[in-house]
Symmetry: C2
Amino acid sequence: MLTIGSLGKKTGTKVQTIRYYEQIGLMPEPGRTEGGQRRYGDAEVDRLSFIRHARQLGFPLEAIRELLDLSDNPDRSCHEADSIARRQLKQVELRMDRLKALRTELKRMIHECSGGNTADCKVLEVLRDHSECLTDHDAIGA
Amino acid sequence: MLTIGSLGKKTGTKVQTIRYYEQIGLMPEPGRTEGGQRRYGDAEVDRLSFIRHARQLGFPLEAIRELLDLSDNPDRSCHEADSIARRQLKQVELRMDRLKALRTELKRMIHECSGGNTADCKVLEVLRDHSECLTDHDAIGA
DNA sequence: CTAAATGTTCTAGCTGCTAGAGGTTCAAGC
DNA sequence: GCTTGAACCTCTAGCAGCTAGAACATTTAG
């Protein structure tokens, strides 16, 4: 039986985060000691590892919830899991495209910096002048 | 003189967002009509465009605050603006590297999906098995 | 003069945690 | 058995960067 702290260490998760996952129903309510402390078993280690791994892959918690559902019902179609993963891949590729455009413009800004005072600073100038902007309008938060 | 709505349209910013920027001190408190409605001039259009453009480039609001400060004091060194931009470029490149790793693993998951039921779904299997994971541990939120 | 569009403030919510206060329990050493 | 200190507990609030909604006021066009 593991304490929440050792579960955290095993899975690379902060204690607060584990409690948060429990709160939002991603992790089950675990057993408790007489004194009220949480105790975990192997199933919880697996489940939390799954969650963390999916998070590292950028899956939002809601997608992970779906994936866990699928995982709990082994007779349901694999296609659902596959489509979640594909959705996620699309997101990743979209974000990459945006970042590429941003990188280009940032490099241009920096490359042109003359090193004088801000009156003729290219960085500020580029930011002031929207007309040469290559990035797409919804790129915020990318 | 522009209403907040037309300022929003001109700059591609939601009304609420403009008020939020005012609240956190990024935008100045504008003049008001007798009835208490905000009215904006050209300076505000420029300032908001600057902010939005920087946001599209992924600058956090605090960095934008610094950049606006620099912009307001044309005799200060351009190097500060340059270093903010360089910092931002580093962030962007970091995020790109992470996304690349994630994409690789997502592609592997999807590629191996057999299409049966979830009992032998590769997507779930990959998520369950951490050992082949290539991604770096801090990649969450990338 | 009226009605619709747009404005106002205020509060609360989103994602995914993280930090802190103020208190309790557990395990180890003596 | 007792003490100590680490780890646990709950609860609340905060982070970025908005976004949405309620409930009301103002403006503007017809």
